[in-house]
């Protein structure tokens, strides 16, 4: 396989909160078009790493580069516009808006029509609304949510809410899609469906970063896995390599029941 574009590079990143070192010189990268899994026992620094990547935290030292450029100094909404989108571990949809409108908010990232355009219904406003609507409906279709487009997000069943969050993130047209424990609260059958969904998302050309507790899901769907423990990276390789890595086995054995 030839050299692929690196979508994201985390270069020797350390993050300290007061005396606590949450991330300790972590380096990793994500290639275009791959599904990278990030795993580790509770408190290993997964969520922290996730927040550094999505620009919520700024590293104490080291650098995060996205498509070759550092993310430092960008506002959070600007990072999304650049091409990093995420879902939330505990679902954070806009509850009083419909499913369709939730996705429309995502498509709006690349729109610029403001008050004046809206007031005079300018061609730009019409074009953007039409484009956004079409893209959003297509995504809802893809997620199997088209029939619920007009329902309030807060009234959707749990599984649909999870899928809607992914659709909303995809609507921003990201170069990197970060999923934060998307299988939380799912039963085995739903998890299988989710694995299938994540593969189909990748097949549409998305690069996916997956943080997940469920080992079987991560092993089954990712191309490569990064393992964190106590804020350090302890392994990085294909699922098969990770499965046999002694350091990973030591970290996980008996430590975390539902991760095995």
């Amino acid at each position: 396989m030839g050299e692929r574009t690196k979508v994201l590079e985390v270069d020797d990143v350390t993050l300290r909160f007061g005396g606590l070192t949450a991330l300790d010189s972590v380096s990793l990268h994500i290639d275009e078009g791959e599904i990278l899994g990030m795993i580790g026992p509770n408190g290993a620094g997964k969520t922290t790493a996730f927040n550094v990547i999505t620009g919520v935290y700024r590293p104490t030292s080291g650098q995060v580069r996205f498509l070759g450029d550092p993310l430092t100094g960008l506002k959070r909404h600007a990072i999304t516009k650049r091409g990093i989108a995420r879902t939330f571990q505990n679902i954070r949809l806009f509850g009083a808006m419909t499913a369709l409108e939730n996705v429309l908010v995502g498509t709006d990232v690349h729109h610029s029509a403001g008050v004046v355009s809206a007031l005079f219904r300018t061609p730009r406003h019409r074009r953007e609304e039409a484009e956004g609507h079409e893209a959003a409906m297509e995504l809802l279709e893809f997620m199997g949510l088209a029939s619920r487009a007009d329902e309030l997000a807060s009234n959707l069943p749990y599984g649909d809410q999870r899928r809607l969050e992914i659709a909303r993130a995809m609507a921003t047209g990201p170069r990197l899609l970060c999923l934060d424990e998307p299988a939380a609260g799912f039963n085995p059958q739903e998890k299988a469906q989710l694995m299938d969904l994540i593969r189909r998302v990748r097949d549409r050309g998305f690069t996916v970063l997956l943080i997940e507790h469920d080992m079987r899901l991560v092993m089954g769907v990712t191309d490569r896995i990064v393992v964190l423990e106590f804020g350090k990276k302890i392994a990085d390789g294909t699922p098969a390599e990770i499965r046999d890595d002694p350091a990973v086995i030591a970290a996980y054995l008996g430590v975390d029941e539902d991760a095995s």
């Binding site: 989108a85 808006m97 921003t172």
Partner: protein, 391 residues
């Protein structure tokens, strides 16, 4: 309260189910009804002790303010307790430009008043919209007081004595000739009622279209027209990327930001637009029948009443804001015979309403649907967790 509640909900549902053409026709009819209402002077509704046209002017002006404040509170979810400050800025800009320092015409001063108020909104919002939501309430409350105290103490804007002789909007048709001329293109008589029998009352005529001391109705027509225009604009903006961004920000600011919504910019926009409408209302108020403003016209209490209007009507629904504004302006005037008790009754009503209509009289349509679903869920769960959270 029970039957009122069901009737309102049923109306809202039927409205949502109507075809578009029927809705437009109904709105046009409703607007026409309100234009002629002060001439028809229907029994029961009409205030007896004070001029009904003046009361209708107050209602329309209050509804306009409520629609503006609804953008800030209802759409963007920002609790503004100092809205009277913007109202005052609009009124004083008009007063200063047309009377106290300069002698511009009303229509020259109006856009300037709107722009000045909008800039005031940006200047206040830019530093303060970054602080957490509830703090905004007290900061804006302070702003309202600062404006009032400033106009009380600054000679250049009239200080405590205020500004008088603010010109009215220009008349259409000939000006009235002193001493008793009515002016205008023609005059329109009102109706008077003997029980349920109407008759034409030629003693109560409204010159078309003279903004003078004879009749408050032309001022009412002006404000009503402005209100309708603002409602249309409100709908166009709400139903766009801007409206969605406001709603997303209100629902979950962090999530909205991470979905690429520049939340601060949109909050500032809501604040500025709300301020502009407040300024517009203030300018109309300044040039209304009396043509006189002073610092006492803008007490802190007025801000509280504005907020009450929006929330009583149903924050987030423009028709709710109109209804809330109208009620808050009308009820105290209608029941003037109980004038000593009207604030007491108003206070009690504000206490009772939330118990029966926790979402306001006309909640946003979506909330109706959401609540229907919630009620089903509650019934299924046997309401065990009714005590938890929310407040």
């Amino acid at each position: 309260m029970g039957p009122v509640r069901t009737a309102l909900d049923a109306m809202a549902r039927r409205w949502a189910g109507m075809p578009r053409g029927a809705r437009v026709a109904l709105v046009v009819l409703l607007a026409a009804f309100f234009y002629v209402l002060p001439l028809v002077r229907p029994p029961v509704v009409t205030t007896q002790q004070i001029d009904f046209g003046g009361v209708m002017f107050g209602i329309a002006a209050f509804a306009l303010v409520a629609v503006g404040l609804n953008i800030v509170i209802g759409y963007a979810g920002l609790l503004d307790l100092g809205y009277v400050g913007f109202y005052a800025v609009g009124a004083y800009t008009t007063g200063v430009l047309t009377s106290y320092q300069f002698h511009w015409s009303f229509f020259a001063a109006l856009p300037v008043a709107i722009v000045v108020t909008m800039i005031t909104g940006v200047l206040l919002g830019a530093p303060t919209l970054r602080v957490r939501g509830d703090y905004l309430a007290i900061v804006t409350l302070g702003f309202g007081e600062i404006i009032r105290l400033a106009v009380t103490n600054v000679e250049w804007v009239g200080a405590a004595a205020g500004i008088k002789d603010i010109p009215h909007p220009p008349n259409i048709g000939p000006d009235p000739e002193p001493p008793f001329g009515t002016g205008g293109l023609f005059t329109i008589p009102s109706l008077s009622w003997d029980g349920l029998v109407p008759s034409v009352d030629t003693g109560r005529e409204t010159p078309f279209l003279v903004f003078g001391a004879v009749s408050a109705i032309p001022y009412y027509w002006l404000v009503l027209t402005v209100l309708i225009l603002v409602l249309v604009a409100d709908r166009l903006v709400k139903d766009s990327r801007v409206g969605r961004a406001w709603e997303a920000t209100r629902e979950d600011e962090d999530a909205a930001e991470l979905m690429g919504v520049p939340t601060f910019r949109f909050k500032l926009l809501a604040f500025a637009l709300g301020a502009a409408i407040g300024g517009l209302s203030g300018a109309l108020y300044a040039s209304s029948q009396g043509g006189y403003i002073n610092p006492q016209s803008f007490p802190l209490l007025l801000s509280i009443l504005f907020v009450a209007a929006v929330i009583v009507g149903g924050a987030g629904n423009r028709w709710g804001a109109v209804l809330g504004g109208a009620l808050v302006a009308y009820l105290p005037e209608r029941f003037r015979e109980f004038s000593d008790f009207r604030l007491l009754v108003f206070g009690l009503a504000l206490m009772i309403l939330p118990v029966y209509r926790p979402q306001g009289l006309l909640p946003p349509r979506r909330t109706i649907r959401a609540r229907a679903a919630q009620e089903e869920i509650d019934e299924l769960e046997g309401r065990e967790s009714a005590q938890k959270e929310v407040l």
